[in-house]
């Protein structure tokens, strides 16, 4: 099982390594989003500082959605899903492997966006541990939800427009929790950051369980 998961994840990362879509295209786009937020808030530094946590997660949502599109485009492009169906890899392994691949790519994206908000929005980090825990939980939740909806949209012709519609309402609690936890970590809000962070781990666990149970249904397209 672990062997299969790693096989899939490494394959996806190798595809990314060769094509450099995350670092070369999605991460710069994420930075642009951060700049555009400053336009929207009329470069009000106080507002940006207060909202930095939320803006970070919105930028992750934008960029991450593109990464998910890309991760499934690689599979649908040359009929590669058929090859998966014909392989001995089991559906839960495929689900976890794809999630792991997305997880690492989203982490890369966050490594660019994180310094971005610190520099552009003048953010101070009070609680590093909470920041890292919240980032981990949020990214895990994003990855498993993303793969679950990614495969659902992948079988359809309208996947590019369908995916965000399906993904955003489900991720709303993650956005909420991630924003609040980051605000606590940045010291602009004094409340229960850790509870918000743990909520994201719960969401990740729930969706991971559902995904492992149902991925087989979703993979059988015809």
């Amino acid at each position: 099982m672990l062997h299969e998961v790693l096989l899939i994840a490494l394959k996806d990362l190798r595809v990314e390594w060769r094509s450099k879509v995350t670092l070369g295209q999605v991460a710069p786009m994420g930075l642009l989003v951060l700049v555009v937020f400053a336009f929207a808030f009329d470069a009000n530094t106080r507002l940006l500082e207060l909202g930095a946590g939320g803006l970070f997660w919105v930028a992750v949502l934008f960029g991450g959605t593109l990464l998910i599109q890309r991760a499934f485009e690689v599979e649908t492009d040359d009929g590669n899903f058929d090859a998966f169906r014909m392989s001995t890899i089991r559906a839960p392994s495929l689900f976890l492997g794809k999630s792991l691949g997305i997880f690492i790519q989203v982490v890369l994206l966050e490594l660019v966006l994180g310094p971005g908000i610190v520099l552009l929005y003048n953010v101070r980090i009070d609680d590093w541990l909470l920041l890292l825990a919240a980032a981990l939980g949020g990214t895990l939740a994003f990855s498993v939800c993303g793969v679950l909806w990614g495969v659902m949209a992948a079988g359809t012709r309208v996947r590019a427009t369908l995916l965000p519609l399906l993904l955003v309402p489900i991720l709303a609690p993650v956005l909420l929790a991630g924003s609040r936890a980051f605000e606590t970590a940045f010291g602009v809000r004094a409340e229960a950051g850790w509870t918000w962070a743990s909520l994201m781990f719960v969401i990740a666990a729930v969706h991971a369980a559902v995904g492992m149970g149902t991925f087989g249904f979703l993979l059988e397209e015809s």
Partner: protein
């Protein structure tokens, strides 16, 4: 005539005709009770009459989504069977979700209008309204997924999985939004101004819930039949195609 055409599930049975008449009568009586007979509230005045629409419709919306989830689960369990793969569960899931979306929409409209007179704004980031709007969008997505052309069984499985995830997400969304609002905006405006629901208002609310439930059941039954008819149409087209393919050779 194929035997399927005599199927009672796709034509009006006397029972649903009675249900239809009862639904219309119940709705009229509900309007009478809610708008005229029941008294105005001491605190909210006439605005309290929104209660009789708002509360029953949110109950129907949630109820319909739960029905969708249960039917979807049953469909997933049976869909691998060779005979009777549980298509009727899939149909029920689709019909219930659509009616649920209609009533979630009504909940939002009535909630916003009600908010306008009691809070002074159309939208408060009230936990229940926020949860409902997310739910509304989630199930719009579900309907979009159902509309996509695909093999019926694949589409059924795909949307069944989505229905399950969506229902699991409801408590998560509700909890997080509720917690967000209670943590950061203590003593929301509405709390002190909630009407005391007693006496005639209580009975009117209870009756309205019953009446809206009847109307919604009628809608679900008929939507179910329309889905069945659509499938029947597709099946007939397919049979004609198979027949014409068989004739090609002879």
């Amino acid at each position: 005539m194929s035997p399927a055409r005599g199927n009672k599930y796709m034509t009006a049975s006397p029972a649903t005709r009675v249900l239809g008449v009862v639904a219309v009568a119940a709705a009229l009586l509900m309007a009478l009770l809610g708008l005229i007979v029941s008294p105005a509230d001491v605190v909210q005045g006439q605005a309290v009459r929104m209660l009789y629409l708002h509360v029953p419709s949110i109950w129907i919306a949630y109820g319909a989504f739960v029905l969708t989830a249960v039917s979807s689960a049953l469909f997933l369990i049976r869909s691998r069977r060779r005979e009777d793969s549980g298509r009727h569960h899939d149909r029920l899931a689709g019909a219930a979700a659509e009616v649920g979306v209609v009533f979630a929409g009504i909940t939002l409209v009535t909630g916003m209008l009600w908010g306008r007179v009691t809070w002074g704004t159309y939208w408060q980031w009230d936990a229940r309204l926020t949860t409902t709007v997310l739910l509304f969008v989630t199930y719009l997505g579900y309907l979009a997924l159902r509309r996509l052309p695909a093999d019926p069984m694949i589409r059924g499985r795909r949307s069944a999985v989505m229905a399950l995830i969506s229902i699991i997400n409801v408590p998560i969304v509700h909890f997080s939004v509720d917690w967000w609002r209670t943590l950061h905006q203590k003593a929301s405006l509405s709390v002190g101004r909630r009407p005391e629901i007693t006496g005639e208002m209580y009975w009117t609310l209870l009756y309205s819930t019953l009446a809206v439930t009847i109307v919604a059941s009628w809608l679900i039954v008929h939507r179910y039949r329309v889905i069945r008819l659509e499938e029947l149409r597709d099946e007939e087209a397919l049979n004609a195609l198979i027949a014409s393919r068989l004739r090609e050779d002879e």
